[in-house]
Symmetry: C2
Subunit: 219 residues, 2 copies
């Protein structure tokens, strides 16, 4: 199936669809309607049908979608059949939690190396992941051909470490620090600003009350 460039909003929903289809498949379910999908993933069914239409007509009227073929299709689209190794920079409280976080629900992403300046944990294994000293970051990222990094260093080190990641050839950074890092246009940054998320939630509660609830970082 030829894959056209799909809208960003659609692309962001793909992992959500994928995860739910995986649950259905493991539960032995063979087909699913867009209404059922809609209720489970909290996306309206018109949007689901439009999203799916970008990949060709995958559903049949009166039958819905075949779970297994839909799942296989998304697996290919999302490269779920290929493991992406990711580095974690900064093994503080949040870094530790992320080492234990179940990124592998879909078996496609794994934190395979971590880095920290703290000499007490450098050269140890934490939650199954080797922690290297920061001085070895560039070399290890290149040897291990890792081009995606999760940034959980203190705010004052964020830009400096980001510069080093760029120099090491990293192409994508998931930035958990509250500052906006500057990177060349060739590097993609996904900002995850937890304080901002919480503040936004509270702002919306105060100003919009109950109307149009259910925000999401992935909508």
């Amino acid at each position: 199936m030829a894959e056209a460039k799909i809208p960003k909003a659609t692309a962001k929903r793909l992992p959500i669809y994928y995860r739910y289809l995986n649950i259905l498949f493991n539960a032995g379910k063979q087909r699913v309607s867009s209404t059922e999908l809609s209720e489970a993933v909290q996306v309206d069914s018109a949007t689901i049908r439009r999203d799916f239409s970008y990949f060709g007509a995958l559903g049949k009227r009166g039958y819905g979608y075949d779970v297994e073929s839909l799942l296989n299709f998304f697996k290919k689209t999302l490269n779920q059949d290929r493991l992406t190794n990711v580095a974690l920079i900064g093994v503080g409280n949040l870094g530790h939690a992320l080492l234990n976080y179940n990124f592998r629900q879909t078996n496609s992403v794994r934190i395979s190396a971590a880095f920290d300046i703290n000499e007490e944990i450098a050269n140890t294994i934490q939650s199954g992941v080797p922690v290297y000293p920061m001085a070895e970051m560039k070399e290890q990222l290149q040897i291990q051909q890792i081009d995606v990094a999760i940034l959980t260093v203190p705010i004052d080190d964020a830009q400096k470490v980001a510069d080093e990641l760029v120099a090491a050839g990293v192409k994508g950074i998931m930035n958990f620090t509250p500052i906006r890092i500057s990177v060349p246009a060739t590097v993609r940054v996904q900002n995850v600003d937890l304080a901002n998320e919480l503040q936004t939630l509270i702002y919306f509660l105060d100003h919009y009350g109950s109307e149009a609830a259910n925000q999401s970082t992935t909508d």
Copy 2:
């Protein structure tokens, strides 16, 4: 100043502007241009000017924006002069990290109570925050008048705990579990799905490469 309903996309950028203005103010800076702001917060200056225009004409041509008055304005808009107490449900790895996370950068949000079923940490104080047993959740939320909760329980408990939060009168839930919880339309949910964020980053790297980099959960 009368405050009209502003677009959601604008509302989501307010905490970002606020944080940067705070940094400028603390550094003794008295004015800032939309170009400077743009570079710092990685939002284009036309968007910044449009965002600010919803609040009335705050900038002066050839002068830029007065940092202190802009800051005071945002402080009021974002209720930064009022402390919001928030509960954390589930003190596992991620919950622990969030207790230590600096939500208080802007002094307006504080995790003031935590809840866990683990008897070893219930009735202790973790990172300065009292941890109550789950059985006391409803009562404590009502006594402490907390209506915003951060949900970091295991996936299998998420919906049950969400139902209990709703029954306790909670109006906003920041959901860190990978499932989409069902709540009444009167309750707002902000989903923070870290695996999904990472998968989206990788998907965009694979399919869009370097074009249009710098994604954000808050864009």
